[in-house]
C-alpha cells in the first residue's frame, strides 16, 4: 500500500513537471555564466519580478548559437563578438545588446615553465608556450573561449600542433581541472577562474592585454517564420538584464570579495 502511494506521488510529480511548461523561456548560454553561479543568483530575482521561468541550457557559445539558429531556444547569452554579429547578420537573431564584460587570462603552473609572465603581449605569450612546447589545454569545443584562443593563435602565426597541444572538448572548469592535473597552460575567462580558484594550484601567468577583453552579449532569437519562439518573454529578459537594476545586480555579484562581471549595457 505504501509503495503504491509513493508511486502515485511520483507519477503526479512528473506529470506536473511535464505539463507545466507554458511559461518557460529557454536560454542557451555559456558555461562561464552558469557555472560561476551568476545565473543562479540573477534568474530567481528575474523570475520573481516577471513570473517567467527561465530554463538554462549551458553549452559553449558555438553550440548556443546553433540552438538559437534551429529555434530550440528563445534567447542566447554568449561571448564571441564575431560569431554574434554573423548570427544577427544571417537573420537568426535580433536585438543584440551588450550585457557585461570581464577578461581572459592565461592560467598556468605557478613555476611558469614557459616564462610567459615576462611576455610583451598575449601573442608573445602564446609564442613562448609554443616554442617551449609547454602543455597547453585547448577547449576545442567552439566555445567563446575557444574562438578567442584560435584567433590569438592565428594572429601569432603559429599552427598549434603536437603532443603539447591538447584539444579537450571540455567545458571551462573541466579544461582548467585538466590543466591543473597535467601542469599545463589554459586560456580562461576570469569569472570561471575566480569561481574555481580555491580548488586549483594554477596561477594567473598572463593578464592585461587589451586583446583579452571579453564582452558578453544577449540576443533574442528571430521569431520570423518561427511562431513558437517566445519573443516577448525573451525581450523582457533582455530589457531586465540591461536595465539599471539588472546591471547593478551583475556588478554586485562577488565571489570571495572579487567582482566577476562588469555591467556594460548602454
Amino acid at each position: 500500500m505504501k509503495i503504491r502511494r509513493i508511486l502515485i506521488a511520483l507519477l503526479l510529480f512528473v506529470s506536473f513537471s511535464i505539463l507545466s511548461q507554458e511559461d518557460r523561456l529557454k536560454l542557451a548560454t555559456t558555461t562561464s555564466t552558469e557555472n560561476s553561479g551568476l545565473l543562479d543568483y540573477l534568474l530567481p530575482i528575474f523570475e520573481k519580478d516577471t513570473g517567467i521561468k527561465v530554463d538554462v541550457i549551458s553549452v559553449g557559445t558555438g553550440k548556443a548559437l546553433k540552438l538559437g539558429e534551429n529555434g530550440d531556444v528563445d534567447v542566447v547569452l554568449v561571448h564571441a563578438r564575431s560569431l554574434e554579429d554573423k548570427f544577427v547578420q544571417d537573420g537568426y537573431g535580433i536585438d543584440r545588446k551588450d550585457v557585461m564584460y570581464n577578461d581572459f587570462i592565461i592560467l598556468g603552473p605557478k613555476k611558469d615553465p614557459a616564462k610567459i609572465k615576462k611576455a610583451k603581449n598575449v601573442l608573445d605569450a602564446f609564442k613562448k608556450i609554443a616554442n617551449k612546447k609547454a602543455v597547453f589545454i585547448s577547449r576545442g569545443d567552439k566555445s567563446g573561449t575557444h574562438v578567442k584562443e584560435l584567433e590569438i593563435w592565428e594572429r601569432s602565426g603559429i599552427k598549434p600542433k603536437g603532443k603539447w597541444y591538447k584539444e579537450s572538448g571540455l567545458g571551462m572548469e573541466e579544461a582548467i581541472n585538466m590543466a591543473n592535473n597535467e601542469l599545463g597552460y589554459v586560456l580562461s575567462d576570469r569569472g570561471t577562474y575566480l569561481s574555481v580558484k580555491s580548488k586549483i594550484d594554477l596561477a594567473i601567468c598572463y593578464e592585461g592585454d587589451k586583446e583579452l577583453f571579453n564582452p558578453y552579449g544577449i540576443i533574442a532569437v528571430n521569431p520570423a517564420n518561427k511562431d513558437y519562439i517566445k519573443y516577448d518573454e525573451a525581450m523582457k529578459l533582455i530589457e531586465w538584464i540591461t536595465s539599471e537594476n539588472g546591471q547593478k545586480l551583475i556588478n554586485d555579484f562577488k565571489i570571495e570579495g572579487e567582482q566577476l562581471f562588469f555591467g556594460s549595457a548602454k
Binding site: 510529480f13 529557454k26 557555472n35 573541466e174 569561481s195 574555481v196
Partner: protein, 231 residues
Amino acid sequence: MDLLQKIFYLIFSFDRDIYQIVLTSLGLTFFSISFATVIAVPLAFIIDFSNYKIKKFLIAFINSLTSLPTVVIGLIVYSFISRKGILGFTGLLFTPGAIVIGQTILAIPIITSTIVAGFSKIDSKLYETLKTLGADKRQIFLGIISETKILIVAALLFGFGRIIGEVGVSMMLGGNIKRYTRTMTTAIALETSKGEFEFALALGIILLLIALSINFIIHLFLKREDKWKRI
C-alpha cells in the same frame, strides 16, 4: 575524513537540492519503464510464440539492440525533436518528456531480452499443459502471465536499474536544466566538472544504493523462483 562528513551530512540532512534531483531521476525512469513495459512485454510474448527460425532471428536482433549506445539514441531522438526535425513542432527538446522518449527506447530491448531469456528457463510444458486442459488463446496468455509475473517484475526492475544510471540520453535531450531536467547522472557530471566533489559523491552514493538495492531485490525474487521450479 572531512570529506566523508560533508557527504554524509548532505545525504542525511535531506539536502533539498539533492533530493529534488533524486526525485526527478526516479520519476523520469519510472515513466520510461512504464511506457517501455507496454511495448516490451507483448513483444517478448510475440517473440516467444513465433516459430523456431524467426524466433532465433528475433532473439539475436533484440539482444544486439541491448547494446545500443545511449548517446546514439540521444543523437537520433535529438535530430527528430529539434525544431528542425520532423517532430520539431512538439517542442519537446530540453523537456522531461524528451528524456522519457529516449529512455523508453533504451529500455525496450533490455526488458524484452531479459523476459525472453527468462521464458526459456520456464517449464516448456506449461504451454502444452494449458492447451490440453482446453484453454483458449486468451486463457493461455493469462495463464502464462500469472506463471511468469515474477520474471516480468524482475525484468522491469533490471531495466530500471540500468536506465536510472544512464547519462547520454538525459544530458543530450534534457539539457541538464536545474530543477527541471537535471538528473542524478547529469548532476554528477556537472558537479564533478565544477570541482564540487562532495555534492557529486553524495549523489553518486545515493545512485549506487538505488541500483544495488534494485539488483538485490531481483536476486531475492529469482531465488524464490528457483524454489518454485523445484517443487
